[in-house]
Structures are given as C-alpha cells and as structure tokens.
C-alpha cells in the first residue's frame, strides 16, 4: 500500500520524516509553531526562537562582555526633544506683533496724538503716542510690522519728523481741495518708509478717513494666494478671492465707525444679499462671508466708495513694498505666460489710483512705499522715481540737477510701470536731524530702554553711528545691542 504515501509526498514535500515513524513530542511542538510558514525551507527540527529567547533572556546576536556602542553621544540619546511646534506655529511666533511691554517704564510726558497733531509743525521732533482706538485700527489694517520695535515700550508711540508733517499737510491739503495725493515714499534701508505709511494711516484714522491698506505687495504677486480669472474681462484680469476676503474684513474692522456712517448710493442686485440704497457700507462689507463671493462684494464696496453722487469721506489707499507690484507676478495664465501684476484686479485698482485714473469723490491719498530689503529690481520704477525726484529739483532750480534718461539699449523697461509712475510725487525719507534724534533717544531713556544720559555727546555718537541719523540704524546701535 504505497499509493497514499506517495500522494502525501506530492502534497507535502517536507515530509522527509517517514510518516510511519513515531513522532517525538518536541518536533510536533515545532510543527505547531511553524504553522505560519508552511513552505519554509528551514529544516523542521530547527530550534524554535522565541522559547530560547525567553529562556536565556538575552538579546539577539549578542555576546557578553564589553561592547562597542556607536552613536551613544547623539542628541536623541541624551535628551528628549519635547513637543515639536505645530504647523504654522513657528511662523506665527515669527510674525507676532507685541505692542506693549509691561516692564517698560511709562513715560510721564507722553501725550496721545490728536487729529491735527501730525500736521502741525510745532510737533516736529516730538514723540507722541498712538491712542488706543487708532492702535486697534492700525492693527486691523496690519500697519505694524514685526521688525519694528513696538514691543519694547509701554505703549506705541511715534516720532513726528519733518517728513511726517510734510506728508500729513499734503494729505490734508488734498482732502481739503477734494483732490488726490498720489505719492511714493522712498528712501534708504531702515530709514522709516513703512513708519511713514503708518503715520499717514494714523493721521487718516484720526481724521475719519477710510483707510485701505495692502500691507505687503508680495502677498499678492508671489503666487501664494489663490487666483482666478474674472469672467468677461478683456484683457483677462484675475481676482484673488481669499486675499480679498481678508482685506474686506480688515477694512471693516479698521473703519467700522466711518463705514457705519457712510451709506450706499445704489442697489447691488448682483450680491446674494439684498442691499438697498441707503444701507451703511458696513452692512455691505458684512456680506462677504466666504472667499467665493468676496470679489463681487469688494467691487461693490469699491464702486460705492468711488461713487461721486454721494457723501463720502476721504480715502487713504496705501501699499507697502511697491517693487513687487511693479513687475510681472509669479502667477501664470492658462497659456502658461506670466501674468503682469497690473492684470491682477486688486493691484490694478491700486495702480490705476496711483496713476491718476481713479478719482475719489472726497479726495484722499494714494500712498506707496518702496522697500529696500525685500525688493526685486524694477528698472522702470527706479528710473521713474529718480526722474520724478530730479524733475522736482529742476523745478526748484537746484544747481546741477539733471533728469536721468532711459538707457536706449536696455530692454528691461516696462511701459505699464512708467505710465503709472509718470505723475506721482516722491517723498524721500532720509536720516533724522539731531533734534529729532535727541527727542527719540530721550523717549528711549525715559522708557528705561537706554541706560545713558541723553546729552549732546550721546546723541551725536549714535546719530553718527547710524549714518547721519538713519532711524533703523539708530535703533540697532542703541536699542538692539546687548550692551546695557
């Protein structure tokens, strides 16, 4: 009777053991363990691993005695790292804005800014505090920057400079005549260009203007926010709904009071919510709840703000980091061509206003500030600004003033940029003079941030170290050093 045995051979090739032989108990046990791997080529009488481990209690492939340990000084062996920051947490920490420091000494003579304070020349070379309300408005408009030293003092205060008074007066003049001030603030690195914008915004808020501020042009042009073509535009324009929603909310928070007192002039049937005429603009701004419908709402808001047949407050429209808005953006059209920044609808509104194509009904100002640390090279813009400055000098008959001309053999110029900057005013922000530097240093010392007597010697020293009073450099030389 060999047939069943042969069949079994076919089925189970491991049957080296004669089936008729009596099975020893340990082998049967081993079989029970090896059930998981029925086709193992390992001999069936191999020693089962786990049991031996349990018996000896030692590690696999290990021997006794001294062992070489590699990497025993690595960090993770020494200390645990703790919780790693959540996504976005590092950035939030980097970008946080602290506006007060409870440890700083309150400055007794510090007074709050009044509506006329920034425009009066008596306040030149004085440090004045921003009122609480304006602080909130400016914070909503993202006027404060993380690189500025707000977090060192008890409350945010600004130095009134000659340029500030000049700018505030120009704004006031324009608003009085119902005209538009179109101006570009430029100057060296850390000279206070963004601070000049902040002061202009503070002045506007104090005088019940409507302030629309684009805090960084690069947020709009470096392809980091969503975009979509606007149907029915030729040449095609692009909206940035997420950014616009954020902007509407910022406008709403910053200008709540003024918007509540300004009423719509026409109906807006295209909006999902019914907005009849004579509705406060605040309500119109409240319509934008989601990014999807944000752009039509913004358009409606813009058309209301620029409606000439209704009572409107003056408007300040400002932008920081102008160079990013004056070049082709990083966005691509469906044909994979780069989209020019001026084809992005929001920036187009700004550039039109800066170029003089849009008139605000009650006048106002369109301000732009250049940046020196984060700025792509835009030859057209640089040339245009230099030309405007030179033209001003020629008008004042300064000796040797000459308007720079285009290089005829350079191809990198951009006509759209030139068209926008053809008739703007340019305000150059340079270093402060010693009187202003002294006022600032006295404020620092009175806040307990500068451990020195503020006399002429100290002021001159820091003023000179800062390259003839460049404010950022003065801060670096005085506030941000570890020498106390």
């Amino acid at each position: 009777m060999s047939a069943p045995n042969c069949l079994r051979c076919l089925v189970r090739p491991t049957a080296g053991i004669p089936i008729s032989a009596p099975l020893a108990a340990p082998i049967a046990l081993a079989h029970a363990h090896a059930r998981a791997a029925p086709f193992s080529t390992t001999a069936a009488n191999a020693r089962p691993r786990k049991e031996t481990e349990k018996k000896t209690g030692s590690k696999d492939h290990s021997r006794g005695g001294k062992k070489l340990q590699l990497g025993k000084f690595k960090k993770d062996h020494i200390a645990s790292k703790g919780r790693s920051p959540l996504p976005g947490e590092r950035k939030a920490y980097r970008k946080r804005i602290t506006l007060s420091n409870d440890n700083a000494i309150p400055v007794p003579w510090l007074t709050d800014l009044g509506p006329e304070a920034l425009a009066s020349a008596e306040n030149t070379a004085r440090v004045l505090a921003l009122p609480e309300e304006v602080q909130d408005q400016l914070r909503a408009g993202e006027a404060f920057k993380p690189t500025q030293c707000w977090g060192m003092f008890r409350k945010p205060a600004v130095l009134v400079r000659k340029e500030t008074v000049d700018l505030a007066n120009r704004m006031q003049d324009a608003a009085d005549k119902k005209q538009m001030l179109r101006l570009v603030v430029t100057g060296d690195k850390v000279a206070g260009k963004s601070m000049m914008l902040l002061q202009a915004m503070a002045h506007a808020h104090l005088n019940n203007w409507i302030v629309i501020h684009l805090p960084e042009a690069q947020e709009l042009t470096t392809a980091c926010t969503e975009y979509a073509p606007i149907p029915g535009t030729d040449p095609v324009q692009y909206m940035q709904p997420v950014y616009v929603l954020k902007l509407i909310q910022a406008i709403k928070r910053a200008n709540e009071k003024v918007l509540a007192k300004t009423y719509t002039a026409q109906a807006h049937p295209e909006l999902p919510q019914n907005i009849p005429p004579n509705t406060p603009l605040l309500k119109l701004a409240n319509v934008a709840k989601e990014a999807d419908g944000a752009w039509p709402v913004f358009q409606a808001l813009w058309s209301e703000l620029t409606a000439h047949n209704a009572a409107r407050p003056p408007i300040l429209f400002s932008l920081d980091g102008l160079a990013h808005a004056m070049k082709p953006s990083d966005y691509r059209s469906p044909a994979f061509d780069l989209i020019h920044s001026h084809d992005l609808a929001l920036l187009k509104l700004f550039t039109d206003a800066l170029g003089g194509a849009v008139k605000f009904p009650a006048g106002g100002a369109v301000l732009a500030a250049t940046s020196r640390s984060n700025a792509p090279r835009v030859p057209s813009m640089e040339l245009a600004l230099a030309q405007r400055e030179a033209e001003e000098r020629v008008r004042q008959k300064v000796e040797g003033a000459e308007v720079p001309q285009k290089d005829p053999f350079f191809r990198g110029y951009d006509e759209r940029v030139e068209a926008v900057l053809r008739s703007v005013q340019v305000l150059r922000v340079g270093g402060v003079d010693k009187l202003e530097a002294r006022a600032l240093m006295e404020y620092w010392a009175a806040s307990g941030m500068l451990r020195a007597t503020v006399d002429e010697r100290a002021v001159t020293e820091k003023w000179t170290l800062a390259g003839s009073g460049v404010l950022g450099e003065m801060e670096r030389a005085t506030l941000l050093t570890m020498r106390v």
Partner: protein, 370 residues
Amino acid sequence: MASPANILRLCLRPSRRLPSLRAAALQQSALRRPLSTTQWRAAAAEDGAKSKEAEDEADQAFSNPGQFLTNFLRDEKITDEERQLAKRMLADWHNVPPHMKKEFDKLNDEITEESAYLRRPMLAKRDSFWNTEESDPDLITDEVGEDDFEEDDIMAMGHAKLEEHREFREYARLAVWEMPLLSKLAKPFQPPTEQEVLRFRYTTYMGEFHPADRKVVVEFCPRDIPGLTEAQQLKLKKLAGARYNPEKDIVKMSSERFEHQAQNKRYLGDLVDKMIATAKDPTDMFEDVPLDTRHHTFKPKIKFPKEWYLTEERKKELEAQRKQALLLDEGKRTEGLMIDGVQTIQKALLTAKVEEPVVLTRVRSTRGRR
C-alpha cells in the same frame, strides 16, 4: 633719352613689386602668429575689390621693357610728356638687336631665380617635434661642427662670443660718440595746427622684425574735424561705434591689416576720409539710432565734497553749532530736564509697588495669583 640705365630702371620697376614676395609675406605673417587672440576677419567688400585690383596689376609680369612700355602707353591717365617719352623709349627698344633682347631676358630670369631664396618665407616644418629642426637666429653659432677642436684655434663658441662682444662694443661706441650728435637734429616741438587733426601712433622695434611693427593707430576728436555740423559729428560718432570713447570724446582706430606701416597708415587715412564723407552725406543721418556707449564703462570720479572742506567759515559754523548744543545741554541740566536712563530705571524701581505676598488658604488657588 633712352640710356641703358633708364631702360633698366623701367624694366625693373614692374618686377620691383615682387608679387610673389607680397603673397608670401602675407602667408608668412599668418603663420608667424599662430596664437593670436584677434579673430580673423575678412576685409570689407570694397577693400577686397581694391586689393584685387592691385593684385591684378601686380600679377602682370613683364619680361622685358617693350611689354611694359606698351602696357604703360595703354594707360590713359599719364601726361603727354610721359607718353612722348615712353613712345620714344619703345621705339628705341624695338631698335635693340634681338640677341641683346635675349640676353636681357636671360639676365632677368637669373635675377629672379637667385633672389627667390630671399623671398621665400620661413616655414616651420610640419612634422617636427616642438619645431626642433627650425633654425634659431638667436644662437650665436651655427651649431655645425662647433665641438670639433683642431688644436689650431679657439673653438667656434669662443669666436662667437668674441664676435658678440665686438658687437656690444660697436653699439657702445655708437652710443658714446654718435648718439649725442643726434641732438643736433632735434627739432623743437610744434603743437599740431588746427589742420592736423589726426594723431598717428607707430611702433618700432628698432629695426628688428616684429609682427606688431606694422600696426598704426589713429586718434581724432570728431569736434576738431573742420566743417562738420553737430548732427554730422554725431553721425560720425555713431559710425565709429565701439571705437568712440564718450568720456574723452575721441575716436581711436588701428590697422595692422597690411604688411607695411605706410600701407596701414594710408588705409586709416582713407578710412577717416570715407567716414567723414559718409557723415556729411545727408541721405541717412541715423537719427533713429541712439549713440551707443555700452562698450564704455563710465567710472564715477569721486571728489572730496566741497562742503566738507574745513574752511574758516565752516569751522566757525561748527563751533557755533557745538556751543548751541552745549547750551541746550546746560539749560536742560539746570532745569532738571536732562534724562538719564539709569536714574530713570532706579527711580522706577524705588517707586514700583511691590505686591504683598498673599496668604494662601486653599490648595486650589495656588495656581492663580489673586
């Protein structure tokens, strides 16, 4: 009168051009500068035509005066006197007996053959290793049998050394005795007149052959050229292209295209004439083309600012400013408005309210302060 000397001179005139010599020399120059960094450029079309014409003329080899004279008479530009003279000479030539003519031809051939060696360019051997077999003109001996000592004389190297020494002494004698005499020939410097607007620069290597000795450089200022309007001057500058220096307002051109300095100078002179003629041509004034200065880097000349000079006035001004600043300081000090950071901090620390430690009664409230 057809003297034999005159005939000989006329006969030699065509052959003096030595067409093969010129061609060889051109070839030679190309070979001698194998490592030139200058790009090989073809001549402009017109120049090419001109040189071809010249070559055609030179290619006509005349074996005897008769041929030359007939060819000479064909030229329409010669004066009547020359024509008559040539006719007479041609008649004389026809009167010369045939065996003399034959002898003349033979002599001519012999001269050409004998002088061929002189005209032949020195070619580097193609397969030589680093031109080892090339003759070296800088060696003082000819290296043939120089190590053979025949016990009757010093060796070749010694003779060569003596020869070299003699040569040095000869030049030393020249320098001492004859060079000072050159000062007699010195002419006082005459500044160029208004008519002499071109300034040429030549290079000489004191009689030695050098590939750069043919180079001629011309400089001129477009403003100096008489009879040019502003627009024509501008056009001239545009024509000059990268040869125009906008900072110095000078056009600088050079030529080393031809074998001889004189030829290069002539070429440059003609070129300047042509440029001026083109600049005066009103058909196209290049008004749509801006003057290109991309080839030139303008270096800003940094000067010490006038305002920084410490003049007496400035010193007084600074003194006054300092005095005023000190007065301001003094005023603040007397009024007690001078701010001292350290004192401020100390005062603030003294007046700061120290919170009373709160007695904690309940265990739960340990976390909050109040």
